[in-house]
């Protein structure tokens, strides 16, 4: 019998307003399992601003603070500063934001938080579009994906948030995927013990936005990593380490084919995506070797 490595304690209540199959619920649940009850979470405008339920409900067993869309980085700096002023240093401060709130409107305050060395953890749950407002294109939407503002598929590439974050030379950054909960929680537990700004990029499949059946979220999430579209790795003190070495990747077409948002993708575009994925994986392995 194998021992469960994920803490049994639930810090997310069994009740929320997410869509069926929403992976962002699991992102929050695993994050809090890793961090424990001495945590304060700030959430800007995003799906999670609604998912926690209307006043006076809350889906979390830790303090939850709603903030302005573009302000998450500044808001976690403010919470940290107030805790430090009050001498409460054993509390983990979390900014929990969507991809639009991170790579687009919130990029300035995220950069500020990383630059000023705020001792806090920032997690971006990436459902690759403005899902809360109805599936509009964000800077994190991948090439070729249908959204309600890219009806013929996005013509531009996805913004590399990990590259942007790592340019700030922070102590810890990692990618996580709800299809690999042990890896997810292990990274969170490790990050909890590190001081300074820490960043997580969490893939967060979205059934209505990505257009696949609600029960397939884990399957789609797993394909993202097994096709090397979303590699799992961590960067600690500048050292890259791949945490799931995908030796025999499934073709990217399989991942794309599992979602109707890529339904109008031309073969040429699909090949272009495969080539980009291959190049990025090679680059990741090269960076791991250099380290």
């Amino acid at each position: 019998m194998t021992r469960l490595t994920i803490p049994a304690e639930e810090l997310m209540n069994g009740g929320h307003l997410a869509c069926p199959g929403c992976a962002a619920t699991l992102v929050m649940r695993y994050l809090l399992k890793g961090l424990g009850p001495k945590t304060i979470v700030a959430v800007p405008a995003c799906c999670w601003a609604v998912m926690s339920g209307p006043f006076p409900d809350t889906a979390l067993k830790v303090p939850l603070y709603d903030c302005a869309f573009e302000a998450t980085g500044a808001v976690v700096s403010g919470i940290r500063a107030a805790l430090d002023a009050r001498g409460q240093r054993d509390i983990t401060v979390v900014g929990f934001a969507g991809d639009g709130g991170t790579v687009d409107i919130g990029l300035q305050s995220l950069s500020g938080m990383l630059e000023r060395g705020t001792d806090a953890l920032y997690l971006m749950y990436d459902n690759e579009a403005y899902m809360n407002t109805g599936i509009q294109r964000s800077g994190a939407t991948p090439l070729g994906a249908w959204t309600s503002t890219t009806p013929r598929g996005k013509g531009d590439r996805k913004k590399d948030i990990m590259g942007i974050v790592l340019a700030h030379d922070i102590p810890y950054a990692a990618t996580v995927n709800v299809a690999f909960p042990e890896d997810f929680v292990r990274k969170v537990t490790k990050a909890k013990g590190i001081h300074g700004p820490r960043f997580f990029h969490a893939l967060s499949p979205c059934p209505p936005g990505w257009r696949y059946p609600a029960e397939k979220s884990i399957e789609v999430a797993r394909l993202a990593t097994e096709s090397r579209v979303f590699p799992l790795y961590e960067v600690e003190g500048g050292r890259v380490r791949i945490t799931r070495r995908v030796v025999h990747p499934v073709p990217v077409a399989e991942y794309l084919g599992a979602q109707d948002r890529f339904g109008r993708l031309s073969e040429a575009r699909a090949s272009e995506i495969q080539a980009t994925v291959d190049a990025r994986w090679a680059d990741l392995e090269r960076r791991e070797k250099v380290a």
């Binding site: 009850p37 001495k38 945590t39 304060i40 700030a42 601003a49 609604v50 926690s52 339920g53 209307p54 006043f55 006076p56 409900d57 809350t58 979390l60 067993k61 830790v62 303090p63 939850l64 603070y65 709603d66 903030c67 302005a68 573009e70 302000a71 980085g73 500044a74 808001v75 976690v76 700096s77 403010g78 919470i79 500063a81 107030a82 805790l83 430090d84 002023a85 009050r86 509390i91 300035q108 305050s109 950069s111 500020g112 630059e115 000023r116």
Partner: protein, 396 residues
């Protein structure tokens, strides 16, 4: 109590220090910058044991103050002009959060074109955000008002944010003798900030959340009631301040020689200082004029204005901003206040002192002379000292 030479910005910073603020988040903008420089120096030297956040914008400065206040810290920031405009979204958040943040604002004109001099358009534009607004006439008043604002805003019956406002350069960069209270005296007047609700891991809750049509109206009504209470409580706070420190700045509406006056000028900020000199000079000549300095624009002192208006023949309102397509903002508020009176005084608005143009004694005397004529069929709103210039290329 000792007297120090302080600029308006020095008075802001020293007051924040005396208030023992715990978190400061700030971004530079002329002519506010020296406030946050003084505070940075105080924090670095250890004179002020506070957390100082250098943020990447004014929007972030206020957002950080709000989350720090939510966590239970007394917070301070300062800004001006474009910075205040950029904060606009978060100004609303502050009121909705019921966060007692105190912010220094140095009045400055808005672009374009660039103009860094006194103009009230920046703060007047934020009229409907729910922030209390105090307009100061002297550096002493700046220091005292910051302390009063914390006391008032942190009262559990109020819990609202406030701007303590000073005119660019005339106060911000002009030095005068200021009585500085002892730290212990201030501590006795201003107890530690301990909010009933904060982000607390021992007692988790959700701050913000989603409020539907069933309760949002009540949330806004509560803010309206709190603002009314702030009006009533301010008089008590000022009285206690007078008892402890021996200074009084006039409550919401600071009246000067308005008894038996035929004409009264309403003004905010440093223009009032010049107006006092003009009032004295005219009174010496037997001309019955007075000044009503509007110290608090929000909450607006409706009853105080009505009490003044029922005994005066003419009221002139000097606005250092203009609400395009209507009136000066103070003029409009006073017109609304006096309409409830059975007999209304003659009312005329004067727009002047925009973008730092001097409001000299001659300009203000001209306004009084105009007012004393009563209703001469002239315009409701007069742009004072307007230079009528036409470019030769412009034909119409």
């Amino acid at each position: 109590m000792a007297k120090q030479l302080l600029s308006g910005n020095g008075a802001q910073a020293l007051a924040a220090r005396l208030a023992r603020v715990q978190v400061i988040a700030a971004y530079p903008i002329t002519p506010q910058t020296s406030i946050v420089e003084y505070l940075a120096e105080a924090v670095e030297s250890g004179a002020l044991p506070a957390q100082y956040l250098c943020v990447e914008s004014e929007h972030s400065a206020l957002a950080a103050c709000l989350s720090a206040a939510a966590t239970g810290a007394r917070t301070y920031t300062a800004t001006s002009s474009q910075g205040l405009a950029l904060m606009h979204e978060i100004l609303h958040y502050a009121t909705g959060q019921r966060a007692p943040v105190v912010m220094g604002v140095v009045n400055r004109a808005l672009a374009m074109p660039w103009n860094i001099w006194t103009d009230h358009s920046d703060t007047i534009s934020q009229r409907d955000t729910g922030w209390l607004q105090f307009y100061c006439e002297s550096n002493q008043e700046v220091l005292d008002t910051v302390l009063q604002a914390y006391r008032l805003c942190e009262d559990p019956d109020v819990l609202l944010p406030a701007m303590v406002i000073e005119d660019a350069f005339s106060l911000s960069h002009t030095v005068e003798g200021v009585e500085v209270p002892e730290a212990a005296e201030v501590d006795a007047f201003l107890p530690k900030f301990e909010p009933a609700f904060r982000l607390d891991v021992e007692s988790p809750g959700h701050m913000g959340g989603l409020l539907g049509p069933d309760l949002y109206t009540e949330h806004r009504y509560n803010i309206a009631r709190a603002t009314d209470r702030a009006h009533d409580l301010l008089e008590e706070v000022e009285e206690e301040f007078r008892r402890r420190f021996g200074r009084y700045h006039g409550g919401t509406l600071d009246l000067y020689r308005t008894d038996d006056a035929d004409a009264v000028l309403v003004a905010m900020g440093t223009a009032a200082g010049t107006a006092r000199v003009v009032v004295d000079a005219l009174r010496d000549k037997g001309v019955k004029v007075g000044l009503a300095r509007l110290r608090v624009f929000r909450p607006f002192p409706l009853e105080e204005i009505r009490a003044l208006a029922k005994d005066v023949n003419s009221i002139g309102v000097l606005d250092r901003s203009f609400t395009f397509g209507a009136f000066g903002a103070v003029h409009g508020e006073i017109a609304a206040a006096v309409q409830a009176l059975p007999e209304r005084p003659f009312l005329r608005g004067y727009i002047g002192g925009l973008g730092g143009r001097d409001l000299t004694p001659e300009v203000l005397e001209g306004i009084f002379r105009d007012l004393l004529k009563g209703d001469d069929g002239g315009p409701e709103v007069e742009w004072v000292g307007l230079r009528r210039y036409r470019h030769p290329e412009v034909t119409r």
